[in-house]
């Protein structure tokens, strides 16, 4: 974390509080999810974002409601940072019909039309072409909106990654590619899967403006995202940000983490984006420890309310199983 990035003029007390608050919301929400998973309230795959919160929160600061977002199966943080109601996200985790996707998608498939949140895509690389298409639509309609695709570094090995970067660059589309490089794709370390492990260089080879930032530093991420989105809105073509980050938890709840050393995890935990930013904000006189405590209480209450909402939620009737395969009124 550098002083330079922290000196951004927009870093008011209110904004510092907002950044910390958003990151803490994600952290607490997911810690609760892990607990609920052991209680079997949440089933299926559950991919936690813990450790990576600065990326979603930082990037989201640069976006407007008119902008579109495509994310992966590790998208709870992005959904919350985008402003989706925590209760509806939690209900989705439960599979209740009050959930953001009526419970149909679960943890990996959070959607929200109002927030222009296009999922929760569980095919590695599968969301990237969609983001390109959303960008194409914005460009063709000259809407001024942009589209952001979040994805892991594992996607860089997929053909869809390369096809999408090429298309976006070729057509100069307003797409922001945010690669969350947490060094592992399930158990495969980046160095074991990529001949060029500096992912941003791949984007640069498509003549896309690309940079790597410290993904544990929410302000650095925000600053990069603001630069990128500004460039997108100016019609400068796509932008690529590689966020160097780390997931503190297992890939999913089924992962014994045989592929990495505990010491490595502990080392990264020292760079926890929430603690780092909180400490820095206190030292910089932007936040008081009491305020940080208050954020904690606020978030706790929000998570508790979300759990209550999900618990009180209802199951979609089996009679509705076939609903929405096709648009109502059309034959299915």
């Amino acid at each position: 974390m550098t002083g330079a990035t922290m000196d951004k003029p927009h870093l008011t007390r209110a904004h510092a509080r907002e950044l910390l608050h958003q990151m803490q919301r994600i952290r607490s929400f997911e810690e609760k999810c892990a607990e609920l998973y052991t209680q079997e309230k949440i089933r299926g795959f559950l991919h936690l974002y813990i450790g990576q919160e600065a990326v979603a929160v930082g990037v989201m600061q640069a976006l407007e409601p008119r902008d579109g977002i495509v994310a992966t199966y590790r998208e709870h943080g992005h959904a919350l940072a985008r402003g989706l109601d925590m209760g509806r996200v939690m209900a989705e985790m439960y599979g209740k019909q009050e959930g953001s996707s009526r419970g149909r998608g679960g943890s990996m498939h959070i959607f929200d039309a109002a927030g222009r949140f296009y999922g929760g895509n569980a095919i590695v690389g599968g969301g990237l072409p969609i983001a390109v298409g959303l960008g194409l639509a914005e460009r063709m309609r000259a809407s001024g909106a942009v589209c952001v695709a979040f994805f892991g570094e594992g996607a860089a090995a997929e053909g869809e990654f390369h096809e999408s970067l090429n298309l976006a660059a070729l057509w100069r589309l307003p797409v922001l590619f945010v690669c969350e490089n947490n060094l592992y794709a399930m158990g495969t370390a980046l160095r074991l899967s990529e001949s060029e492990p500096e992912i941003w260089r791949k984007a640069a080879s498509y003549r896309i403006a690309a940079e790597a930032v410290n993904g544990m530093d929410v302000v650095a991420v925000e600053a990069a995202a603001r630069r990128a989105v500004h460039s997108l809105r100016e019609g400068e073509g796509p932008f690529f940000i590689e966020c160097r980050t780390y997931r503190f938890r297992a890939h999913s709840m089924f992962d014994a983490q045989l592929y990495r050393q505990k010491a490595e995890v502990e080392e990264w935990k020292k760079r926890c984006p929430i603690r780092m930013f909180g400490d820095w904000a206190i030292a910089a006189g932007l936040l008081h420890p009491d305020e940080i405590e208050a954020i904690g209480h606020e978030v706790e209450a929000e998570v508790a309310a979300a759990v209550r909402f999900a618990e009180a939620g209802t199951w979609e009737p089996v009679a509705d199983l076939r609903r929405d395969v096709m648009t109502p009124g059309e034959a299915s």
Partner: protein
């Protein structure tokens, strides 16, 4: 209308012209519409379908893409989510395997998986079928793979009117539509309606009425079945020929009503026999019309081999008129 492969006779337009007219009409009517795919612009389309459209509509709306099937089909899905009405041309079904992920995991699922929040009004067109001696990698008939997928509509226009009209119907459909154009039909001639009309895609069409047996087919095989029906008529067998038109959802009602009348059915399908669309329709007939049947169901499909290059072997691998006639006669109990 002449049979495929025949010289133009009374016709003034080809099936290719009909598809082009449908696309052109959509582009004129709806500013959100655009065509994208490999070589659709400068080259004019690998089957010359989009020839001339670049000059008329410009490169923004007749958009040449790189060789990135997954990338540009996914971009079509994204553009549809973003409010556009893309027509995406995949050169042929053979290459669509590279974008099957986008069609199956995104186009077909997002509506249901999101709890009905998003519609994906994308139209994906592709050529399919064998008969041009293009060998095993360029001769697939995989319509049934797509017809297997809930969440998309699958069309197979076999006539000029359908080739033109279905395009518009597909455009206004709020859901993803995949259109298969059989490669042997592009040169088929006929006349085009002066005014483009959207056609009803909910119904199979009875292309020839008959009383003795129902021949159910689609796409390029339709014309072989009609030729077979003429041959059968000479032998005193009056076959009804049903053109499915829409492969998903299937129009059970028209099929079953016909089979209940004729009490015999023959399925003709250019797909490989195992797991074919013919197999699905046979299952449905058995489920719904078992007690009306007077004879075992029969089918003529492609031989289960990679389609070979030499003409005589390719012909032998595909459903042909004599085999259809023969199967129909067996079904009638005739020698």
């Amino acid at each position: 209308m002449s049979e495929p492969g025949q010289q133009p006779t009374n016709g003034t337009a080809t099936y290719r012209d009909a598809v082009r007219a449908g696309i052109r009409d959509a582009l004129i009517r709806d500013p959100r519409c655009f065509l994208m795919g490999e070589d659709v612009g400068r080259y004019g389309g690998c089957y010359a379908v989009s020839k001339g459209l670049l000059d008329e509509f410009g490169p923004e709306r007749i958009r040449d893409t790189p060789l990135s099937e997954s990338g540009f089909v996914g971009a079509g899905i994204g553009a549809a989510l973003g409010g556009m009405r893309p027509i995406v041309e995949v050169m042929t079904v053979n290459f669509s395997l590279l974008c099957l992920d986008q069609i199956l995991n995104n186009a077909a699922t997002i509506r249901h998986m999101s709890g009905g929040q998003f519609s994906i009004p994308v139209v994906i067109r592709m050529a399919s079928g064998a008969g041009r001696q293009l060998a095993a990698q360029h001769s697939h008939s995989l319509e049934v793979w797509y017809a297997h997928i809930p969440g998309i509509r699958v069309l197979a226009p076999a006539t000029l009117e359908d080739a033109q009209g279905m395009l518009w119907t597909a455009i206004v459909d709020p859901d993803p539509v995949v259109i298969f154009e059989n490669v042997m039909l592009y040169n088929m001639t006929g006349s085009l309606p002066v005014e483009v009309r959207p056609v009803d895609i909910g119904r199979a069409a009875i292309r020839r009425s008959g009383t003795d047996l129902s021949i159910v087919t689609y796409g390029g095989s339709l014309w072989k079945c009609l030729a077979a029906a003429e041959a059968l008529a000479e032998a005193g067998i009056d076959a009804e020929v049903i053109d499915l038109r829409t492969l998903r959802p299937l129009d059970d009602e028209t099929i079953m009503a016909s089979v209940r009348r004729t009490r015999r059915a023959l399925l003709v399908d250019e797909g490989w026999r195992s797991g074919s669309l013919a197999a699905e329709i046979m299952a449905r007939i058995v489920e719904q019309c078992f007690w009306s049947l007077d004879a075992p169901l029969a089918r003529v499909c492609s031989e289960e081999v990679p389609i070979p290059y030499p003409k005589h072997l390719e012909d032998a691998a595909l459903p042909q008129v004599p085999a259809i006639v023969e199967a129909a006669r067996r079904t009638m109990g005739a020698k």
